[in-house]
Symmetry: C2
């Protein structure tokens, strides 16, 4: 991964590529690389859907290796949803292919003139561009099917659906999984709209003749790789909970904790939780001939994914994630797994962030468009997004816009991005992350649930305010570093609890790159990434007032604990004091 | 005007009123009073459509007097459109009645529980509240007609139409004129949505037994009043141009200057300008039996308003203002005065800011919904707003939301409020005002056109950058003071050019209140108001990045002068250095 591929879509005579050495960005990958490039090259005040915005893809530091869970892909840009910097990441196969092609990053800049749609084909034999107007208006499933017809199966694909073509704020970029299905999404912040604004419908990433990179010390790397995988299998979360029930193992946990946002954050417990829990979902998947334990990328030992079949035993969608089951389920008062799975399928097909979309439906319910619990109504509304009706375009623009258009007061967004599946009143630490992360409300940016609820890496009382800022700060720093490695964030559970597994992670990096990184270096990396992001956001106009939760979290008490969000503004403003 | 009437809509058992002496706010009126109260009492981070926002109405310092043009009414709140402080003002009769009832301000706070619509009746005999669900869904014309039936003609009315009930970002509050028509609008910033969010459909302001206040020195006041009116009549703008052709006298002027934004700010001159100019409009009005010279309030000597009849000689709407003729006309490539007048009527009836609505239609044209120049298409789109269809709710939410929903890059807004009828590339001074005013893009906040184009108060080259910051700064300060007096902003032309008329203004204030104000005191008042507003905005999260024009004004050259907006960010950031 020594090269940065720059693609200038505005070049005269058609898109032009150039290759640059990684240079000053050496040592950065994934989020670290996308964020530093965006911070360096993108005008924070540019129109996010204009030619001046850039879309930067980067595999992680370990994506060019067979290390387990190392194929997370990051994408960065100025977000059309938040107006700030955005890093969104996904699993699936694209990161591995890009890394094996020796690309540390791809910088997509400018915009093709005219209205033609294009696909970009990247392989060991070079880069080419083809018009692909035949794909216009297709969902991700049909798009990938056509691309497989045209280019074969030895590829990974990144595509946008109708939402990206329409440049909607909730639009994602789909990454194909091991089965060549568009189920792993660069979901948050409207990155699909930026790709659509540049008239790019698809990337074809050719795996043919792409080779894993050689470690500087192959023997040590192999040992570290084995030890690291063993560490993941040993920890209860990554070795048992996630493989058995997927991320949706959290439904019962959060519901019992009274921090499961129900009916657009009106209460903290959902009567229908057991009907949509990970346990119920896994049993249903198995019963119908799907899979309850499955990996989204080759070589993953966690296997938190799954395959969901419909009532007729036919593939419908990958196992809906906890966040999706919550957003389309409990958050909307819906306890019907088939409806939720269909919504997941539709989101993946149209190319929509499931969190943003589910929260938006909740806001539409708050506005009275349909009632809480109306599963068929929710399906009808999401269909409108795919169809591109005016109502669909409102909803596809996300919860913030939907709240504005329908005059809703209670809109759960920070920096205009929808809150995920943990009520910040019931888990105050995650509230600190939502409020202060550079990304807009984002649980993955500093997953305080780990320590507040799962008691990983210690314990901080979720309902108290003590220690929450420090917890969120440390997690945000660690996450920015992990997001740079290409490793799945779920490795955070074992590395927080098991010092030897953390050492294995350092060994992986050191033996592959010939370095001598210590834990302090990892922390320094995380801080560097966060500072670059926050500096971009400051220049984009974000200050303390943007680091706040919506008013109602401070005013409305959440049942059953009857708590408001109590971390003070003064404390929130110290998160980035490092 | 010694009392502040506070109305708590959330009180148990129904709305409660209390009376407070003006106290620390003595010496403030209009914008000065609304802005200082909002800055003191409203949480800058509150949800604008929630119970915590307040809606503050205030007549001007001279509104309780028969001084000419003194009946401007200000309304203040946290704007649901901009997220910052808002002061919007209008002519018509309400300010006079409120002032004659001795109210310096009305503070509307809280929100009635439930979904009933209410009207608030204020008179010399007290304040009362009545449910008025029979008015639900009515436009302003029908609403006022019903209110006249119920309460008689000896009233002024403030009402919201469908847009306010729907809590749309472009929703205005209509004030009735001398003919009891809802044609004078507190237009900008979504103030109608805030009134709608509090479930208030109408104010009935009873003039019966309301008396002008007595001046401290009646003899001097009368003399000052006569001298002031004479000064207005003597100046070419207020004595000739505005009476003869209304504000629309500017169409030919701006078009000739090459600063008339055409087709969503794509060019600076409109081929159809002469068909919609003030000269053409006045001739058409006279020909059809309307009026080309008319006052929006009693006692005004400028008489810049008019009455527009349709082809059958029947009243259709008041004379559309320059901003309206531009927003719905040249900005959309439409050169049909009948279509523009119908759009003006619809905006007044639905309760929509004509600037925001016209610019939004231009953005919809840019998005391809209809073509530039399609008058019938524009009418169809505005009808959708009144009907409350999803498309209508998008458009009614303003240009910023419409741009987001339809993925448009070129969206002419600052702080999410639509730019008025002067291209900031062709008149760089107004660009400084658009960028930096506390209000979001607003020409009235510091009308640099006066000096850049009309050569009032000196001359600053509109295409250069020299002197623009100082010009805008001084005008913003002066405007904040004038907006506090209740006097129409058009008095700025004579007071800038005629020292004796400025002295008459001071004499009016001094003889009425028994003061000894000098020009410096007026400047100090303006600075105080601006500082309160800017402090609110800072706390609401606005910083230098929000004091910027959209990117395309710096990048796209405007024909015919082929200029971009060239005032530097560093210079913009000095506007508030006073």
């Amino acid at each position: 991964m020594e090269n940065i591929l720059r693609i200038n879509l505005s070049a005269e005579g058609g898109p032009k590529t150039s290759l640059e050495p990684i240079g000053k960005y050496a040592g950065l990958g994934g989020r670290g690389l996308t964020s530093c490039i965006v911070a360096d090259e993108v005008d924070p005040l540019c129109a996010p859907l204009g030619a001046a915005n850039k879309l930067v893809f980067a595999p992680g530091l370990l994506s060019a290796t067979p290390a387990t869970t190392s194929s997370r892909l990051s994408v960065g840009c100025k977000s059309p949803l938040t107006g700030g910097i955005k890093e969104s990441n996904a699993g699936g196969q694209p990161a591995t292919v890009l890394a094996k092609l020796n690309y540390a990053a791809i910088i997509l800049e400018g915009r093709t003139p005219g209205t033609d749609l294009w696909k970009i084909i990247i392989g060991a034999d070079g880069v080419s561009f083809e018009k692909c107007n035949e794909l216009r208006g297709l969902g991700n499933y049909d798009t990938v099917a056509k691309l497989v017809e045209q280019h074969g199966e030895e590829n990974a694909f990144m595509t946008i659906g109708q939402a990206g073509e329409m440049k909607l704020g909730a639009a994602s970029i789909a990454c194909t999984d091991r089965e060549l299905r568009p189920t792993r999404h660069l979901g948050r912040g409207g990155v699909g709209a930026v790709m659509g604004s540049k008239n790019i419908k698809a990337f074809v990433l050719k795996e043919k003749d792409a080779r894993y990179a050689k470690a500087k010390d192959p023997v040590k790397f192999k040992a570290a790789s084995l030890a690291f995988a063993e560490g993941l299998k040993r920890h209860a979360v990554t070795g048992q909970g996630l493989p058995a029930y997927g991320t949706n193992v959290l439904t019962n946990v959060l519901n019992e904790a009274g921090a499961y946002p129900t009916n657009n954050f009106h209460t903290g417990q959902f009567a229908g939780a057991s009907k949509i829990s990970g346990e119920t979902l896994a049993a249903l998947e198995t019963e119908r001939g799907g899979e309850a334990t499955h990996g989204c990328q080759k070589g993953c030992v966690i296997q938190c994914s799954g395959i969901f079949h419909d009532k007729d035993g036919k593939y419908l969608t990958k196992q809906p994630e906890y966040e999706t089951v919550w957003a389309h389920g409990g958050n909307c008062g819906i306890d019907d797994l088939d409806a939720i799975a269909l919504l997941d399928r539709m989101d993946d097909d149209f190319g929509l962030d499931t969190i943003e979309t589910g929260v938006t439906i909740g806001v539409a319910m708050e506005a009275g468009l349909i009632k809480f619990g109306d599963a068929q109504g929710a399906i009808r509304l999401v269909k409108e997004i795919g169809a591109g009706t005016p109502l669909g375009k409102i909803l596809g623009s996300g919860a913030g816009v939907t709240g504005k258009v329908f005059g809703v007061e209670r809109v759960p967004v920070v920096k205009n991005q929808a809150l995920p599946a943990y009520d910040p009143r019931g888990v105050q630490g995650i509230g600190v992350t939502y409020a202060t992360t550079t990304q807009g409300a984002d649980h993955t940016a500093g997953y305080a649930i780990a320590t507040n609820i799962l008691k990983v890496g210690g314990f901080v009382d979720p309902l108290g305010t003590a220690g929450q800022v420090e917890l969120s700060r440390n997690l945000q720093i660690a996450t920015a570093a992990v997001d740079s490695t290409g490793l799945c964030l779920f490795i955070a559970f074992p590395i927080l609890d098991q010092p030897d597994t953390f050492q294995s992670l350092l060994d992986l990096l050191n033996s592959f790159y010939g370095l001598n990184l210590t834990g302090d270096d990892v922390t320094a990396l995380g801080k560097k990434v966060l500072k670059a992001e926050r500096d971009f956001n400051t220049r984009a106009g974000f200050g303390p007032a943007q680091d706040r939760l919506p008013e109602f979290f401070q005013k409305e008490k959440l049942a059953p604990h009857n708590v408001t969000f109590n971390v003070t503004n003064e404390d929130l403003d110290t998160v980035f004091n490092f």
